[in-house]
Amino acid sequence: MPDWRAYVRERLPLDGLRPELAQDVIDDLAAQLDEAYREHVARGLADAAATAATTAHITDWLELARQLAASRRLTLPVLERVERRAADAALEGHRLAGAIAGLTYDLRRLVRLRRHGGYHLFAITTLAATVGVNLIVFTIVNALWLRPMPFPDADRLVAVTGMAFVGLGSPVLQPFEAAAGQVMTSHQNEGLRPRIAFAGVGRDIETIGVTPEYFRLLGLTVHGRDFTPDDDRVGAEPVAIVSYRLWSRDFGGRSEIVGAAVAARPVPIRIVGVAPPDFHGAQRGEQADVWIPSRLVARVATSPPPDGAFVPPMQVFARLRPGDTAATVTQRLRDTGADPRAMENLALVPVKDIFGSPDSRTIVIREGHAFRLVAGLGVLVLIGGCATLMALVLVHYERRRREQAVKIALGASRLRLARELSIELGVLAVGGSIGAVLVTTWGLAALPSLSLPGGVDLGRLDLSMDWRVFAVAIGTTVLTLVGAAWLPVRRFTRARLAGELIAGPTATASVSSHRMRQALLALHVSATIVVLVTAGLFVRAVIHGFGGAPGFDANRMLSVTLRVDTPLTGFQAPEAWMAAYADRTARVKEAIRGLPGVADVAEGRPPIDPESARQMLAPRTVKTRGEQQELIVGTLFGSSELLSTLGVPILAGRGLTRADADVVPTPAVVTASLARRLWPDGGLFALGQDFVVGTGRDGGRYEVVGIAGDFVFGSLARPADGVVVILNRAGGNRFVVRAASPETLSGAIRQAVGGVVSGVSLIKVETGRDIIARDLGRQRLGAWFFSGFGLAALILGVGGVFGLVAYLAESRRREFAVRLALGATPRDLMRYSLRAALTPVSLGVMTGLALAAVVARLFASLLTGLTPLDPLTYAVVGVTMVGCAALAGWVAAWPLRRMMPSEALRTE
């Protein structure tokens, strides 16, 4: 009888079929031929005839092979076929074929990873969140602190702050190499904002008024010519230096523009030079495109005082002489014997530490605690992400332990296993990086709507990515991945893993990995607790901020801010200008008051003003007849109806009236708490008393005519010790409106004001709640940010507990079966498994709470009305974590309830 298996194998070409299935095909066909042969023989055919009759069953072997190759089940995937052919060719000595075989092998491994899709998705998401959040944090740090200034030798450039006014000729500037000034155009001086509109340039152009020395002081070379002292004379031809950006984008980079007079509003301007590329202002936050001489500001400002009366307030920049430091120069200035009171608040701040923009006061961003908070936040996120990822990777490889053991037993080298794992981790790294870029992009797009401590407007920062950001992105990804995967990879590529095949899955190695998972769980839980406590504290601070009474009726209040383009000009005397200004203010008030639903309107700013809070809340010397105190005293200027419009009650004495305008000392209403601090008996005793606030030019003498109820001034996070309310004799561009439904009035107010004041370009209408929301921007940012990450960390932590208990229940099946056989109940086993998971959770919770108490101190100043040790927050977070962990563990241990010892042991 022929060997039918050999017969088929010789004739049927099975290249490209899966080896194990090809053998099946051969065996099946051989068995059928054998059956046919036996039947022919049984019918009485001779061997040769029976063989011939049998072989007639298959005549076209190539056609049969072709039909079999059409089966997707039988054939090898393309990659594997290529790999096999390349491997065969490599055996024949083709070197390139060997490389192709290796490459296709790696590619096949990559394709097979989709089997673990859930694990990869989870790991990539964790990596993306961890790296993305760190990148966002670092991009802000980079923009605020690290990015080099766009001019040389920035370390020697300082801003002279803390003095009411420093003229450039002042002896105060003697110790410096050079000095220059920049007109202050914050919204305190809204009317001084230069507004230039070039013909053909539609957008609003940010313009800064500077003294002629400005570009030289910064060490910048202007293309064309720099400003000269002649340009800064009253009546000189209007000239400007434009940014490279404006010149190249809006003027097409044409060289003839430089030196040419260009049509512009309100006056034609000669462009004398172009600033170096990427320069948009000396301070971080400036996005200027045009610089004009400081004297020109008076002619192009929104609503400047009359010519001649205009002395622009200057921000002075100075360059230290080589060898000098800010501290030595400050000391030298104080030693010169100049007016000591004027020198009291003098500070030299490196320009690179300043954030300034036309919409916010200059802010010193060299805040140690802010930097520590931001850096600490990044580290916390990194630790949490690493712990989560490490637990994930460990669990993943724990499940594949047997697979690895088989591979080692079959002779796979450690190098090969490490290579396989590297490919897998590479996939995580690539996926995580793409995810991180998405998280960062979305995060940075959302950031400008939020603000940082100190009121830094993130929208004005240069948040573009530079090499530092990329370096940190790569570094963080590698650090996270190496930190998370190093240990698992080391454990699963070691040679003795093969011994587990013999010892079974309950070998001692499982015990050690179980301990490691417990340790990781504890680490993860403690990081989660810190994030959750931080989130909880911020959420509570926001709730407190919205719920707490600010002392004025924020719910029925509107703040209206105007920006008037048409300046009040043509007045010879300041008095005439002031009268016109007051008249315009009165017209605006009447227009608003006439609207239905408006109860009252007053000129003045709302007491809470997030942008100016820092400047408003500086400590000042307050003198009464008996003593002198350092207090944070706010001064609220406004029309006589301001307090009643705000809903602040007068507790004693009277409110302000128009008759108080020219009285000396200035009549003032003080808040009750300030009255108590200045005059220990407070109350009525304070009425009629006089006091002095501040020193030097800023100082003023006031007489108490009334005592008002306490209200928050400046910021909810750090309110003033008290407020002095005085009458604003001139007009103003800010108004407070009292209405039953303030949110419905916005459009009507815009229309009404636009009808009585010509040339109004901006009417900003905000409800009291909007202002509080803005004031709580940092807390809201913290609440959103930490809540999001805390929730993700909680879910990962709960998943970790579930995985640990499920793993325990599975890996200790044999042990549990023996225990059951010896009399333990399923309930005992569930308790045991739960205890194994809840012990590290409890440890993590305790460590986390202790750590959170330390971390919370870093941002204690942001916690409005809360202590960093708020017991409710800590209790809720602790109980939530333990409760969620217990629930997850209970669900995971549930299958143990029906465990039968005999069944469990049999499956072993």
Partner: protein, 110 residues
């Protein structure tokens, strides 16, 4: 002998129908078709085997090696649940089709 196209179009249905009763090995299927058709339908192993592979690919049948004491090792094919459903559908369709064709043929001779 039946027409080649008719045979080709009905092979799958024949195999499914024969596997409906019980699992059978490949050669047995060929023999049964021949026997039950009175010798009018014959299939060689070389033409029946690719059909079996195709049916298995589509999940209508599944093959399993069986080795009984005193017998040789053979691969038995059985219907899957999906295969059973397909058989029912195709059986009805075939009967409808054959009925319709028969009616036409008979009416022509009437």
């Amino acid at each position: 002998m039946a027409d080649h196209d008719l045979k080709k179009g009905s092979t799958e249905l024949l195999i499914l129908a024969l596997l409906d009763a019980r699992p059978r090995h490949g050669y047995e299927l060929g023999k049964l078709i021949e026997t039950r058709s009175g010798g009018r339908l014959t299939f060689r192993i070389g033409s029946l085997y690719p059909v079996l592979v195709r049916l298995e690919d589509r999940g209508l049948i599944t093959g399993r090696w069986t080795e009984k004491p005193g017998e040789r090792r053979r691969r038995f094919y059985r219907l899957t649940a999906e295969g059973r459903k397909t058989l029912e559908t195709r059986r009805i369709a075939w009967e409808d089709f054959a009925d319709a064709v028969n009616q036409i043929l008979r009416s022509r001779h009437a």
